[in-house]
Amino acid sequence: MSAVVLKDIYKRFGAVQVVHGINLDVAAHEFVVLVGPSGCGKSTTLRMIAGLEEISEGSLTIDDRAMNRVAPKDRDVAMVFQNYALYPHLNVADNIAFGLRIRRMKKDVIARSIIEVAEILGLTEYLDRRPADLSGGQRQRVAMGRAIVRHPKVFLFDEPLSNLDAKLRAQMRAEIRRLHNRLGVTSIYVTHDQVEAMTLADRIVVMNDGRIEQVGTPMDLFMNPVSTFVAGFIGSPPMNQFTGTLESDAEGASVTIGGARISLPDTVPSDPGRDVIIGIRPEYVSLAAGEASSPVAIKLDLVEPLGSEALLHAAIGEDPFIIKAETFGDVSHLSGLTEVHVPAAMVKVFDAATGRVLNRAAG
């Protein structure tokens, strides 16, 4: 059963169309992350689901009920905002209880719910504090509490972690995922941070310029990006991309980049002369020769040790090429590097004109 279904959703602000036809099925209990660059329409889409923006065209259903004309309060969704939207004049307990009081629930039910939620989120000792006297992470938790306490059908999150520092963000990210595992409430989560998307999502929706670029599991997007856009968005650092022309000889398809012949997987349709973009993940470059891999001469420019791995900033010809290599506790063996090997199976090939992948089935 699908919990939330978006069908051909369009959004126009006056004459400007910002969402151009979105189709998305979110299954019950699923955690879906909308990710994409700034201004691509993630928040707008989320706000249409919440009912804060009117849907210009298309249909939205939640639990098989048409929602286009339903007021936000009757959609049974709860939303967590980027700036938490806590009421500064209310203490934590009253903030959490706000939605319940608005719905005129019984006093003892409210009191019990506050205690329960505070326990889940570790807020019990802060119930009397005002938001101004809390840390960023605690405020974030209160905002979560306000959503949880209502037991909604759907949670909507709009960049809830972007005001936190990196360490706290990682910690809260795990907490959100744990909470989802525990409560199992269908969640739609907006972020522009691909790490957040990868770690939280059951499925990721990559958006670009008001359209869905690709929907899939995190690993699916990582291994099989359908376009150069997704390839450049998912993964950190992103996939290296080079433009070239398809060639074909007895050994199969290849592309020549900066003088190096790079063999392509045999799933690439043979079409010599076609302009393509090839994508190579920094993680899938090996330092040693392997079966069916192409040697490539590189100019190493900079080694950035990260601990167990190092980022090598290099170039093939004039094109920048980033490689992620294992350090085995020492980076000295990396500094003199002049040649790396690119396994054919790991190379993605995209059409240069459309940016669409040509060897979808592989790898």
Binding site: G51, K73, A78, A85, A132, R150
Partner: protein, 331 residues
């Protein structure tokens, strides 16, 4: 009047800060630090200078003249040469039934205009905030702001005309209801309602701007969050808007209480007549008549000083009560 701290409009956190413990530092060290600060940030002090000069010139220098409240002042002898008389003028004042009447009227008129006048701008601001149609809203705002820009003399003229027994619109209307014309401005019992009412008419709209600004400063996602939670517009007004602008309301209230003794006396002078002195004569009009018309500068200065001391006590009290009760205060 005191300049409002600009932040008070938007911020909900209040304006006061816990007093720093700098006082315990040795004086020398603090002076050195001040000098350092001056060297580094002298531009700020230059910008501050005109305001400080203005204060010194127009607020502190005149205080020198306050001493005539305790002297038998004559313009020929000058301030310094006039002999001291101690509390004599105050004794005279408090034995003067006109002065006592003026004190009583000041308090009554102030209190009534605070009670009736203070909530009106807040109410207007909340109403404007609920008008969603932009053009309609702007039109309404312009209409209620307008009287503020009319000079008090003209306001008085309008009031006098409106309440005139022969051609005034008020008497015309009650005439339709079969009531005899009343010469309102000669009736002591009508003076206060007319004065307070016209004061509200003139200033309420304009005063609503500060509350509108405070409302505009409320984080919009508070409302969105409340909408998703199911709040109605009415609930949002009571549970979000009003609590959010409460610091502003309290600060405005403190200022108003501080000015409680400061009745807008131009309008009174323009509207009152000997027939209505009984309810209309306030301390400032009394000072005006004693000081400027009868030339008793020392007595008028004593009355003014009394007025200022009472006002000072009022602001201090209001501020400290507010600090304790609501964590909001002017300083």
């Amino acid at each position: 009047m005191t300049d409002l701290p600009a932040s008070s409009a938007g911020s909900a956190t209040g304006v006061s800060e816990p007093a720093t413990r700098a006082t315990e530092k040795p004086m020398r060290e603090r002076l050195v630090r001040l000098a350092d600060h001056f060297k580094r940030e002298w531009q700020i002090y230059v910008m501050l200078a005109p305001m400080i000069i203005w204060f010194l010139l127009f607020l502190y220098k005149p205080m020198y003249g306050l001493q005539i409240a305790f002297k038998d002042y004559s313009i020929f002898r000058g301030i310094v040469e006039s002999p001291w008389v101690g509390w004599e003028h105050f004794e005279t004042l408090f034995n003067n039934s006109q002065f006592l009447r003026a004190v009583k009227n000041t308090v009554i008129i102030s209190a009534l205009s605070l009670i009736f006048g203070f909530p009106v701008p807040i109410f207007l601001a909340l109403m404007f905030n609920e008008i969603l149609h932009a053009l309609y809203r702007r039109t309404c705002q312009t209409i209620v702001y307008l009287p503020h820009f009319i000079s008090t003399v003209i306001i008085a003229g309008i009031v006098i005309t409106a309440f005139s027994p022969s051609a005034g619109i008020v008497n015309t209307i009650i005439g339709w209801l079969g009531i005899e014309p009343v010469y309102f401005l000669t009736k002591p019992e009508w003076f206060r309602p007319i004065f307070i009412g016209s004061g509200i008419w003139q200033e309420a709209g304009f005063s609503s701007i500060i509350f509108l600004a405070a409302i505009a400063g409320v984080n919009p996602s508070l409302y969105e969050s409340a909408v998703v939670d199911g709040a109605s517009r009415w609930q949002m007004m009571w549970k979000i808007t009003i609590p959010s602008i409460m610091p502003t309301i309290i600060i405005m209230l403190i200022i108003r209480i501080g000015n409680l003794m400061e009745v807008g006396f131009e309008l009174i002078i323009l509207l009152y007549q000997p027939a209505t002195y009984q309810t209309a004569d306030v301390i400032n009009t009394f000072i005006y008549r004693q000081g400027l018309q009868s030339g008793q500068y020392d007595l008028a200065a004593a009355a003014g000083l009394f007025n200022a001391v009472v006002a000072f006590v009022l602001v201090m009290t209001a501020n400290s009560i507010s600090k304790r009760v609501s964590r909001t205060s002017l300083w």
